[in-house]
Amino acid sequence: MNLTSEQRSEQWATVIQPHTGWFNFNFSELWRYRDLVAMLVRRDFVVFYKQTILGPTWFLLQPLLTTIMFTVVFGNIAHISTNGLPQILFYMSGIVLWNYFAMCLTNTSSTFITNAAIFGKVYFPRLAVPVSVVITNLITFAIQFCLFLAFMLYFYLRGAGIRPNMLILILPLLLFQLAALGLGIGILISSLTTKYRDLTYLVTFGVQLWMYATPVVYPMSLIPRKWQWVYALNPMASVIETFRYAFLGAGAVQFSRLALSFGMTIVILLIGVILFSRIERTFMDTV
C-alpha cells in the first residue's frame, strides 16, 4: 500500500509549498508560456503605436536629439576627446547602447508594482513580464541601431576614418549582456521595491549617474591609468568600449575585462532571478 501511494505521489504536476530550495525557478514553465511573452511584447508595441501621433518616429527622434545635444555640449563646448572619431558617431553609439540597457533596467524595475492587479488574480510565471519588456526594448534598439548604421554608412562613404572589423560578430553577445544586466538589476530592484518603495525614486536618478560613470560621453582613454581598475568593475564600460572598437575601430578591447564584465552580468542575473522567484510567491501579501 505504501508503495502505491508513493508511486501516486510522483505524478503530481504541481506541489504548492511554503518554501522550496533557493533556486526554484522553473525554466520549462516559462518556456511553456512563450506565447504569453509574445502577446505581451505585441501588446506593449501596439499600445505604444496607437497612443502616439508620431508612433515609432519617437524611437528615432530621441537618440537623434540626444546626440545633437551631446555633440554641442560635450563635443563643441567642453571639447572632450572622441578618440578621433566623428562626434555624431561616437555619441550615438554610446547613446543607442546605453538606452537599451537603461530602458531594460527602468522598465523591469517596476514589474511587481505596475502588475500588482493582474498578478493578484491569475498565475503565470511572473518572469514572463520582465522578459517581454526586454524583448520589446530590443525592437526599439533595432530601430535605433538602424539609425546608427545609416549614419555610419554616411560617414564611411565620406571617408571619415572609421574601421569596422571582425569583432562586429560579437554584437549578439554584447546585446545579450546589455539585456541580461538590465533585466538582472531591474528584477532585483522590483523585488526589493515590494518592501522598500523608496527604491523606485533611486532608479531613474541612479541610472543617470551610472551613465556618467560609463564611457558614453567620453572615451576610456581619458581615464587616468590609476583609476582604470574602477572601470573594470563597471560591467557596462567594456561593453560600450568593445562595441565602439568593433564598429568604429577606435579605442581598445581588453578581453580579460570583457570576460570579467560578462561574469559579473551572469552573477547579477542569477541573483536577480533567485530573489525574484522568491518574492513572487508571497509579494501579494505585502503589496
Binding site: D35, L36, M39, G120, V122, K195, Y196, T286
Partner: protein, 435 residues
Amino acid sequence: MSDIVISTENLSKQYRLGVISHGTLTRDLQSWWARARGKDDPNSRINIPTQGQARGNNERFWALRDLSFEVERGSKIGIIGRNGAGKSTLLKVLSRITAPSSGKAKIKGRVASLLEVGTGFHPELTGRENIYLNGAILGMSKIETKKKLDEIVSFAGVEKFLDTPVKRYSSGMYVRLAFAVAAHLEPEILIIDEVLAVGDAEFQKKCLGKMDDVSKTGRTVLFVSHNMQAIRSLCPKSMLLNKGEIVTFTATEETLSAYNQSLRNIEIGAETSINNEQNRRGSGAVRFTSVEVKDVESNRRFDFGMGETIRFEMSYETFKEMPGLAVYIGLRSGMTRELVTSAQHVLSTKKISAGTKGTVVVEFPDTYVRPGEYPLYIYISDTDLKSYDFDVLDDLISPLIITSDGELNHSNFNPKRPVGYFSLPSRIVLNEILS
C-alpha cells in the same frame, strides 16, 4: 481506486496584521541598527509588550488553518462561507497566486483560475487582440486560442466588434467577452470565484449553463459563490469554511443547511465582532444593532410558506447626526442576485441626533414570491439613500427560504425553464374542452 487531483495536507496561511516592514529602507536600516546594538527599535509602536524577540509587535491571524482534504477527478466542489472565512485565500493558494505559510497542496493537471473576468484586458487593444492576450495570460497557447476563437466570439456575441478596441465596448459586452475567453479554456482543474456576480440575468444563466457543460466533460471545478442556488445546481458536494477551517465537506444539501444554521445564529450588533469585519460597509454613522426575521407570532425563522406574513424587525443606532432616516429591504434572486422585490420606508424626515436608538418592524403580508431562496439586502441611511452614511447587511444574514404549501408543485429554479418569481393569485374562469 479513486483518482485524486487535489490533495492538501495541513494547508495554512497566516497573515501578519501589524507592520511587515517600515516601508522605507532607511527606517528598516535604522531599526536593524538599533536592534543590532541591543537598543529599542525607534520605529516600533509603543505600548506593545515585546515578547522576547523584536518581531513580537506583529499581530497574526490565520486565514487558513490546517486544511486537509482531497478532491477527486471530475468532481464539482462548491466552497461557501461568510466573508472572511478564507474562501478566496484558499483559491489564491491553490491557484499559486500566493504561497501558503505551512503545509502543502498537491495538484495534478493544469489549473486555470478565474478570480476575476477580464484580467489583463487592455482597453486600447481590439476584441480579437484581447482574446489572444487574455487566453495567453490564462495559460492557453496561441494555437489553442485560435481553434476556439469562433466559439468564443459567438458565445460572447461580439462578432461585429471584433476589430474594435474594447474601450468602446459597453460594459456588458466587455464582461461577456471576458467570460467567454475564460469559459472556453480547457484546463483539468477550473477554479472560479464569484464571476457570475456580473453581467445581466440572461447572460448569467448562459454562464451557469456553460459551467455545467464544462463540468460534464470530466474536468474538476472548484466554485466559490454566495449564490446558493448556483452552488446547489452545479455542485453535488460542498465545503463550508469558517475562520479558515473546514466546518463540513460533504453533500451540498447538508453543507447548505449547516451554513444556514450558522447564519441564523449570528447576532448582529454594533458591539459584536461582525462590526469589525471589513465587509461592513458604510461610514459607521448608523449601524443596525439587530435584525430579526419573524412570523406573526414573533417566532424567529427564515423559512416561510407561500402566502405567509413575514416581519422584519430591525434595531439601529446612530453614531452621528443624520438628516433623516429610511430603511430598505430587498429580496434578491438566489440564482442571479438581481432584485426580485423591495420595500422602502422613511422613518423620519427630521434630524436624528447622534446616539439615537430605534426599532422598526416592516411586514410583507401574503408573500406571493415563488418557492426558493432569496438572499436579503437590508439597508439603512438618510432619506435620499445616496449618502455614504449607511449600513447594509447582505450576506451577513441567512437568505429567506420560501417553501410551497404542497398543494401545487412549484419546481425549483431551472435555468433552462424559468418559472418567474411571483405567484399571483389566478383561477380558471373558462375551461372549454371541445371534442
